[in-house]
Symmetry: C3
Subunit: 268 residues, 3 copies
């Protein structure tokens, strides 16, 4: 009983708006992908800031345009900073993205993800295993790998979207994105993105940047996913492997035009 | 009542000296830019070491050739390590650079920067907003962006240089560098450097490396800024965007000759 | 009185096995090289996971295929996580690699390395200064640089291998690898690898991945070293400096075939 609504016409203006508005994206993310995430944000036109200590994360989340909380390496100070930032973002109306990396398999982040979920993230991004684990329906994967397909996580995603009031984006060869009512399947992308660390994590930060530029967060999330994945397709055409791909991907994100985005979007 | 002295003839020998001396640069820096900073140091010919825990940072600052303290993500242990290292460097005569990232806007690092300032850094590097905030004349920017121009920070830079006994380098399209008496304006560089995370932060580490190779720290700072920015100009000529630029920049730093540096330096 | 045994015929099948088995490599490593290490693991065909907090590191080491513990920036939480992971790996039979970065010179990691050594690492990887320091025969280097040659560390390596029951790999222009009885000298590689941060550290993670795919850990270590260094040789042929080299190196790791590995291996 879900409504399937393709998002049309919204992509190009949103990319344009990120470019001109340069949203300040506050990212509290894992130590493996900080540099790549910041470079992705700069390439797409956003302004990154990684403020992840208690006492600063809260105040900063209040003035940021968008916030990412990624649970990849949740050190003690970061966990406190994450709680502080999520609360401040919720109170201030700053859109925020939760990326529950590897929950299910690992106890501390699993408990933290459940706690943060109560603060009702604007967007939740994960692979199928993580979304199923967050929805309380599974035991999680073995780490950052998706061992389930996005379609197998559809019920979990819909349930999670409805109870948390979030847009839920499940990554995979075809991404499934839902707000609990509408469902969009986004098929752009390239397998090389899974061979670059942060290929998924940095997308969470881009979602936070796009969420700052529009009120319909299903639309902003679809736009973020599609801009990111179209750039990956373009980059892959000139790459010899994961090294050149990561470099070309940043160039392609920076060069992507709103028209190209609309022309190449593969949504259903 | 300031003396304007172009630095001439000093650049090429200082780059030569970094290449042959391979100064050991102790960098306590933020988690976003550690890898890029280490690669920049290796490319220019220095030897990087990121020793940022209490109990090790002090002893290491004593044997290092130069030290960078960058406040980008000042975790609790790092703050203790920074105090320890700055004190040890001051006591041992190790030149050290303070980069007060995003102070003014964020409370914990602002207090820490004020504390470190009393230890009289050899060099202070920041954008105009940060320098104004450190000099106590402004409220700071919104993060790592400069919202003021270097020229607008000139009085703050001169005051800071005189009270702290430091060389102060204000970054921007034209950098302003002063020791409180002499003022040098350095106009090399390329806008793509602002699209690579660590583009500013890594320069602080390079300044620490050059400071180890000469006694006139206005000269060593100008040489570091100019070598770095000339390499950026060369790299930009063959780049398609921020991804290829970051890669070519490392190649250009490694390939830069003392003669090219002198030939391309744009100083006033 | 050591037996010199070239490892022949084992390399190609081990690379093949890493590609098809995609071992899950648990890396607790320093903040400078996390991203590069993860990208190297992905390129070679392994699955990286950086789980470095107490309460998660132990459980994860039990399910991982292999574990790396690298002492480059041993923050307080990481030290606890390292102890937990090493104990769990030893108990579960998960092969694990110890990389005692910069011990000798720095007190906290030196004590920690001695403590971890009692848990009998499967493989110990370091430069000559580090191996000599770990064996208790020297005062250590000035940081990550090797100031001694691998051959000068041969006695230390043999002693360490015998007392700890480990394979010991000493890095240098020619690597020396021993299990206390057999000695292999591996001469592939390229000097540009020393100009990329993580050039040595990431190899430790690759050793953990290969160790998961075979029982003879002298063989798996030699295979890891050789695959890594052959990829470096191939990458260097098309590189203009350390920037392009790091990118091409990832491509070369991903493209390396078992046949090429056997054909180019330089072992004695």
């Amino acid at each position: 009983m879900t409504v399937r609504t393709p998002v049309s016409g919204a992509l190009a203006p949103l990319l344009e708006s990120v470019r001109t508005g340069s949203p300040l994206v506050h990212a509290i993310t894992n130590s493996v992908v900080t540099g790549f995430t910041a470079n992705v944000l700069l390439a797409i036109g956003a302004a990154p800031a990684m403020v992840d200590i208690p006492g600063e994360a809260g105040p900063f989340a209040r003035i940021a345009s968008g916030l990412l909380i990624n649970l990849g390496t949740p050190h003690d100070e970061q966990r406190t900073a994450m709680r502080e930032a999520a609360r401040a973002a919720s109170a201030a109306g700053t859109p925020w993205v939760l990326d529950p990396v590897a929950i299910g398999a690992l106890p501390i982040r699993t408990a933290l993800a459940a706690e943060l979920l109560e603060l009702r993230p604007t967007v939740i991004r994960g692979n199928a295993s993580e979304i199923i684990a967050l929805a309380g329906q599974g035991a999680g994967g073995r780490g950052v790998d998706a061992t389930d397909s996005p379609e197998s996580a559809l019920d979990a995603a819909l349930g999670l979207a409805r109870t948390a009031g979030s847009v839920v984006a499940v990554s995979g060869p075809t991404d499934v994105i839902t707000d609990g009512e509408r469902i969009v399947r986004a098929s752009n992308g390239h397998a090389l993105l899974t061979k670059v660390t942060g290929g998924g994590c940095a997308l969470g930060a881009v979602m936070a940047g796009f969420a700052a530029q529009g009120d319909d967060r299903l639309e902003t999330t679809v736009a973020a996913v599609t801009a990111y994945n179209v750039a990956a397709e373009i980059a892959a055409q000139q790459s010899y492997g994961p090294g050149t791909f990561a470099v070309n991907f940043l160039d392609a994100l920076a060069a992507l035009t709103p028209d190209e985005l609309d022309a190449r979007a593969a949504l259903a």
